[in-house]
């Protein structure tokens, strides 16, 4: 269908689409009046995964299942999607912001000779054209942007768009197009899995706890992890904490780290430097715990407590435990 909005599936590499796809599909449905199709490149899809896409609202799933799609390599993926897009002429191609979609969608845009709006926080139809709203200058301003022609390519920031409600029994038609696959250039040598903290991934988490220099040392992050365990939060850090070697870089929030947009951000011993705000200022609710009443983070916080974090964190853990046990 030439008017369809496509959603490129980000999966968990185990055959299921990630939860963030509910947001992408939900937004695509809203913009297109339900003309949503999913494009899924994978070495192995599961029936439950396909079912999930249908329940979220994909009318069709273009399933490209081939061993060559794992591990992800843009030089194999981009031509496959481009070929299908040329044949089907979708109106838009949307994907969530992830490290691989950043690269894949950019390659695809070059291949199709169209624009890509990365990391959108808003999308809206104005008459016949799509307008993207995206943060620029590290989130200090918003830019409204428009494309010269279709397909409109965009990546969507997680946790910002309203997820589609799953409708049990709603099913997608499955098409298995053939794709010509170029030889892969990149050869995987090894995958180093991160030691799982048991907590959600930073960029996907609905609640993020962030520990700054006020944490005083790497050994103290256990108290944040304990609190995170109780409320299902990811634990991040400021650059000061990362540069001190207390946390690996993948946990850094900010301009030279991860950009997050959780429903709830809680900063502990974080001063709120402009480069830290760049990575978290679009969080829905911001809480700051800091000893210093003048700390700039209080300027953007919805709630603040001026106190020693080492007293506040254990008390919070207890209080949340009590609340959630009810």
């Amino acid at each position: 269908m030439a008017n369809a909005f496509w959603c490129v599936v980000e999966d968990d590499r185990k055959g299921a689409p990630k939860k963030v796809m509910a947001e992408v599909i939900g937004e695509a449905a809203r913009l297109s009046g339900g003309e949503v199709e999913a494009v899924w490149l994978t070495d192995k899809a599961t029936d439950e995964g396909v079912k999930q896409l249908g329940e979220w609202g994909a009318r069709k799933v273009w399933l490209l299942e081939n061993a060559a799609f794992a591990p992800y390599r843009a030089e194999v993926w981009a031509p496959a999607i481009a070929e299908l897009a040329k044949a089907q002429s979708p109106r838009a191609i949307l994907a969530p912001v992830t490290s691989r979609q950043r690269e894949l969608m950019a390659r695809l845009a070059a291949r199709l000779d169209v624009g890509l709006a990365a990391d959108c926080m808003g999308l809206a139809m104005e008459g016949d054209r799509l307008i993207a709203t995206r943060p620029v200058y590290a989130g200090k301003l918003l830019a409204k942007m428009a494309w010269a022609k279709t397909p409109w390519l965009a990546t969507l920031r997680p946790n910002v768009f309203k997820p589609a409600d799953a409708v049990p029994g709603r099913a997608a038609a499955v098409e298995r197009p053939t794709a010509s696959l170029p030889a892969a250039a990149l050869k995987l040598v090894e995958r180093r899995e991160e030691v799982s903290t048991g907590l959600p991934e930073l960029t996907e988490a609905e609640i993020v706890l962030s520990g700054g220099r006020g944490m005083k040392g790497p050994e103290n992050y256990v108290i944040l992890e304990e609190l995170g365990g109780v409320i299902g939060a990811a634990v991040g850090a400021s650059r000061a904490a990362v540069d001190a070697g207390w946390r690996p870089h993948r946990f850094q929030i900010g301009q030279t780290g991860r950009t997050i947009s959780p429903k709830l951000y809680m900063g502990f011993g974080v001063s709120g430097a402009i480069q830290h705000l760049a990575g978290m200022r679009t969080s829905k609710v911001i809480v700051a715990i800091n000893k210093d009443p003048e700390a700039p983070i209080f300027k953007i916080a919805d709630y603040g407590i001026v106190a020693d974090l080492f007293e506040v964190v254990p008390a919070l853990t207890q209080e949340f435990k009590r609340l959630l046990e009810k």
Partner: protein, 259 residues
């Protein structure tokens, strides 16, 4: 071995940016300009490769207006051998794809073994140019690299790229484009000698016509810049720690419905 490093000049991270008289662009008055921080990791990596191999031709390349020459001077002061400045009114409206087309044309002319870039430029925050340059050249690309080692023959680079949930180690055949993530290295500061020496190094000016390119309609353009919606005023919760914590949890649950 020849290495091209793509660098962009951007406002300093601490600069306040304001919308200009033309609402599609920022007011550039009073802005301090820097080399985009991720691009410094790329420059540093190129210089380390050169030092390890004993020799290499490290070329800093930028597309930008006259002021962007300063960014090239910083790269030369860090130790790059020469620089190329793509400076033409034809590129005034360039989006990432038009930028990538111009940069890919220079890469073709120079035919290096390696192109190093930053993960994203911290003004437009697109993170698109490296993949687009690679696509236009038909080269492989690895994003968000945090480790890199070029083999002795200069035929492949072993790279560790950051992905959700881990690090993937790949062998990438050269020529290739690699985009640098923080954590790859610690960029050096230019020495006084470096700064003095930079003045004598070559900066070649390139016009669109020199690359066989003309003005191009951007595929994506700014309709307008807008200020962030104001956040509602916050509230400092008073009282001793047990009282304040109770009230915070109650507010998060009942008022903000955040948990």
């Amino acid at each position: 071995m020849k290495i091209l490093v793509l660098v962009k000049q951007v406002p300093d991270t601490a600069t306040q940016v304001k919308i200009g008289a033309n609402p599609k662009a920022i007011d550039t008055a009073g802005i301090t300009w820097i080399v985009s921080p991720y691009d410094e990791f790329a420059v540093e990596e190129a210089l380390r490769i050169k030092e390890k191999r004993g020799q290499a031709d490290v070329v800093a390349v930028t597309l930008g207006p006259d002021r962007a020459k300063e960014a090239l001077r910083s790269c030369l002061a860090m130790g790059c051998d020469r620089a190329i400045h793509l400076n033409d009114p034809a590129w005034a409206e360039a989006d990432t794809l038009a930028t990538a087309k111009a940069l890919a044309a220079v890469v073709k002319q120079e035919s290096p073994e390696l192109v190093l870039t930053g993960r994203q430029a911290i003004d437009d925050d697109m993170g698109a140019v490296p993949a687009q340059v690679a696509e236009l050249l038909g080269w492989p690309c690895a994003y968000w690299i945090m480790e890199e080692a070029v083999d002795g023959d200069g035929k492949t680079a072993r790279t560790g790229r950051q992905v959700e949930g881990g690090l993937e180690i790949f062998d990438v055949p050269l020529p290739a484009v690699l985009s640098a993530q923080k954590g790859l290295n610690e960029p050096r500061y230019p020495t006084l000698k470096g700064i003095m020496g930079a003045k004598k190094k070559e900066i070649k000016d390139v016009k669109a016509g020199d690359l066989g390119l003309g003005a191009e309609t951007p595929q994506l353009s700014v309709v307008a810049l807008e200020a962030l919606p104001p956040r509602p005023p916050g509230r400092i919760i008073q009282g001793d720690v047990p009282t304040a914590v109770k009230e915070l949890v109650r507010s998060l649950r009942e008022d903000a419905k955040a948990i």
